[in-house]
Symmetry: C2
Subunit: 246 residues, 2 copies
DNA sequence: CGCGGATTTGAACTGAATCAATCGACGTGG
DNA sequence: CCACGTCGATTGATTCAGTTCAAATCCGCG
């Protein structure tokens, strides 16, 4: 343990809010400098397009804060959200030149960007990094398949309940708030508008609005603003969502 | 180049129909013996359960021939097919103890099974193998997201047309028939029953049947048997399916 | 205060589900 | 060889969940 010379680049990553939760967690403090050297931060406003479908992709990124929606579109404008990513999720499709979907900032977003070539080089050098990315991808695949069950077989009210449950469940993680709150009074800020929720659930705005209304009048939710509410009865919510998971 | 002693185990994999198209393609002829030593073949009949959801999974597998459907189920029996795998696809969820879905033989199926522990050991030793599996997983994730768009936003007739198009497109691959046939006279055998197609598309049997009827009377399909037909007009089929892809 | 976009609410409509026969194709046994 | 039963697929009639179209209402903001 000797006093090392001051290293500003190393310092940056070591101060990063998601240093250990993002893919960077697969790198040691020694190795992190190699990724630090190539990383750049960038901010996005809600609605900003991060990545267009069929775009040539020349970067990967970690989400430092905020929510990013991945969407697909039919020729006539019908739209489907196929993924919703929060900090500290990874963004980008390895081993493919072009993006298979749009990536759009749903909230204020901060990304930590890595140039494609440099990052792919790192992937080859650090097997731990690739394994970590592989595991993240497997988890995303599981989530996508869960959502397929929702899209194909759940009713409108089950869909909306499932969505609210998912957001409520992930909220403590996202905020990184270590206050282990009362599970029957989770305060939630929705990262999506009604129309985005509709695009996530394969419904219309009107149906989403009506179903949220029902959850409210059933006493399961207490609305504070259109994008802000508390879950008053998690158990009933999960029941309404038809959750099976462990 | 010296004459090697006869090696029956090595011979087996080298004669395998999917030797170079499956994940095994990531291994050299030298390396293949390590996987050969742990592999076992097994046959399944249509409807046989290969893997139950929440089962402790103690093997991985390559599909040597046939089609395997991955399904999820709601408490009340509603079902959704979340993946349809053909030879030479890989089967199994790495880095997770329990299966997140059911895997069921849709047709006659032959698997090449690897004990979990031994295969995970191989994964660590052979980085090429893990990378190959990673790429396969990324492709599955892309496919799952394409299907989410279908499930959430396509109409019944678009769904059925998309399904038929997908099967017609993959048929030449599956059969490994190198006869580059007329694209407007592809002969197709459906690996799924009407009720399975319904579970794949988030529809009912009746709706599937009606939509297939429409494709037939529109002259796009010529039915030979309920599970056997020819595609007469691929361009119109793709149009009806609302395909955007490259 | 008044404007404009997002959300909610209402009423009518419709695509797909449900309910209900019927129709093969196929195997079995008389 | 034909009657019978079974199971998947088709076809028809009806219903209904969710969409569509059309107003309100809410709310943030200059």
């Amino acid at each position: 343990m000797q006093s090392a010379p001051f290293d500003s680049t190393k310092l940056r990553c070591n101060m990063c809010a998601i240093r250990h939760r993002a893919v960077c967690g697969a790198l040691s403090d020694e190795e992190i400098s190699s990724i630090n050297a190539i990383a750049k931060r960038r901010l996005y406003k809600p609605g900003d397009m991060i990545l267009n479908a069929d775009d040539h992709v020349d970067f990967f990124a970690n989400i430092v804060s905020g929510a990013v929606k991945l969407t697909k579109m039919l020729g006539d404008g019908r739209q489907q959200i196929v993924g919703l990513q929060f900090a500290p999720d990874f963004l980008g499709r390895a081993y493919k030149e072009r993006s298979p979907y749009f990536a759009e900032a749903a909230t204020d977003v901060e990304l930590c960007l890595f140039p494609r070539k440099a990052f792919e080089g790192l992937l080859k050098e650090k097997p731990g990094l690739e394994m970590r990315l592989f595991q993240d991808t497997l988890n995303e695949l599981d989530a996508a398949r869960d959502w397929m069950l929702l899209l194909g077989r759940k009713t409108a009210s089950e869909k909306v309940a499932s969505f609210v449950e998912m957001i409520a469940r992930r909220t403590p993680m996202i905020g990184c708030s270590h206050t282990d709150e009362d599970p029957d009074n989770v305060h939630v800020f929705l990262p999506l508008s009604r129309s985005e929720i509709a695009d996530y659930l394969g419904l219309t705005i009107e149906t989403v609005s009506r179903q949220i209304g029902k959850l409210k009048s059933a006493g399961i939710l207490r609305l504070h603003a259109s994008r802000e509410f508390s879950v008053r009865d998690m158990a009933t919510l999960r029941e309404a969502a038809n959750i099976d998971e462990e």
